[in-house]
Amino acid sequence: MIEDDADEQEQAEAEALARALESADASSTPDDALETASLLRAVAQPGELSQARADAVLAALGPAVARYVKPQRARVAVWIAAGGMAAAAAAALYLSVPRASEPRQHDAVAASDLPVPAPALLAAQSALSSSDAQRDLVLSRRATFEREMRAYRERMLSKLKRSYPTMVGMLEPRQAR
């Protein structure tokens, strides 16, 4: 059975609690009313902890706790960095390994280090480009061109041999391209 007539003290406490719930002004509010108001607020907003409050709690706990929190983040960062470096190294390795079977077509690099063709060879080549000559003349021009071209080919292969000398032993590093 509930007693309707509350005494004066109970009424004053109820008013103080009401004031504490309405405002955060604690100057004229008894401590037990403030505690009760805090409990009621906490029940109304379960599990919520603002970032500012969390930082404040962490700061209050001191560096002893922070030591266990920060290394965890640092370790994650180290793993991420290591993973990134490993991926970069794998990509660099993949790109640096030459693939012999891959056709290297359309290289725009001129073979400028090869011997310059002699004017006699170019003249013979030019003469070969005309298709209106008689058969004997064609054969003669072709023989001249092939002689000049053979000499140029020999010079070219000799130069390439000098560019890629024979390795002395298995331990000698192979030339980079």
Partner: protein, 171 residues
């Protein structure tokens, strides 16, 4: 928890290393690997093939030149060198096919050589000429004229470079 994750990562890395090792040590095909060929040996093979083609009849010359073309190119050989060497082989193959009466094969070899690219050099000009000859033999005169034109353009540029370089030192 962290220790278990680390152990898993170590085991994975170990397995990957083992697989790489097994792949590297596994027996390969009978075909020679380009890494096994020295540039000087490859160049010597090319010289032998060219020397044989100088004296062989067209059919045999084409065969020996095609075998030289199929040789694995050592990885040290720079792309521009590889290209000119292969274009020269293809020019000679086309010429041998033409001499043997195989105009279509000659045209295919010339086109294959030109597809390797390159700039103004004598090997491309040679390929355009033999292409023109193959097209004449096939009765495609207009295309042949176009090929001869390309050859003459390259030849003119080369001659201009050579004469320009030769005349640079003269007053």
């Amino acid at each position: 928890m962290m220790r278990a994750t680390r152990s898993r990562m170590l085991i994975t890395a170990g397995l990957a290393l083992a697989l790489c090792f097994m792949h590297g040590c596994s027996p390969r095909d009978d075909a020679p690997d380009a890494f096994d060929v020295e540039p000087s040996a490859w160049l010597a093979d090319l010289e032998r093939a060219h020397a044989a083609a100088d004296t062989d009849p067209p059919e045999a010359a084409s065969t020996v030149l095609r075998e030289a073309l199929a040789l694995p190119v050592p990885p040290e050989i720079r792309p521009a060198h590889r290209r000119v060497v292969q274009q020269d082989l293809l020019f000679r193959i086309a010429r041998a096919e033409l001499d043997g009466g195989h105009s279509a094969a000659a045209l295919a070899a010339a086109d294959r050589g030109l597809a390797l690219g390159g700039n103004t050099d004598i090997f491309r000009a040679n390929l355009w000429i033999v292409r023109g000859e193959a097209l004449i033999a096939l009765g495609r005169d207009t295309e042949a004229a176009s090929s001869y034109y390309e050859a003459l353009e390259l030849n003119r540029k080369l001659l201009s470079q050579v004469l320009g370089a030769a005349g640079a030192g003269t007053p």
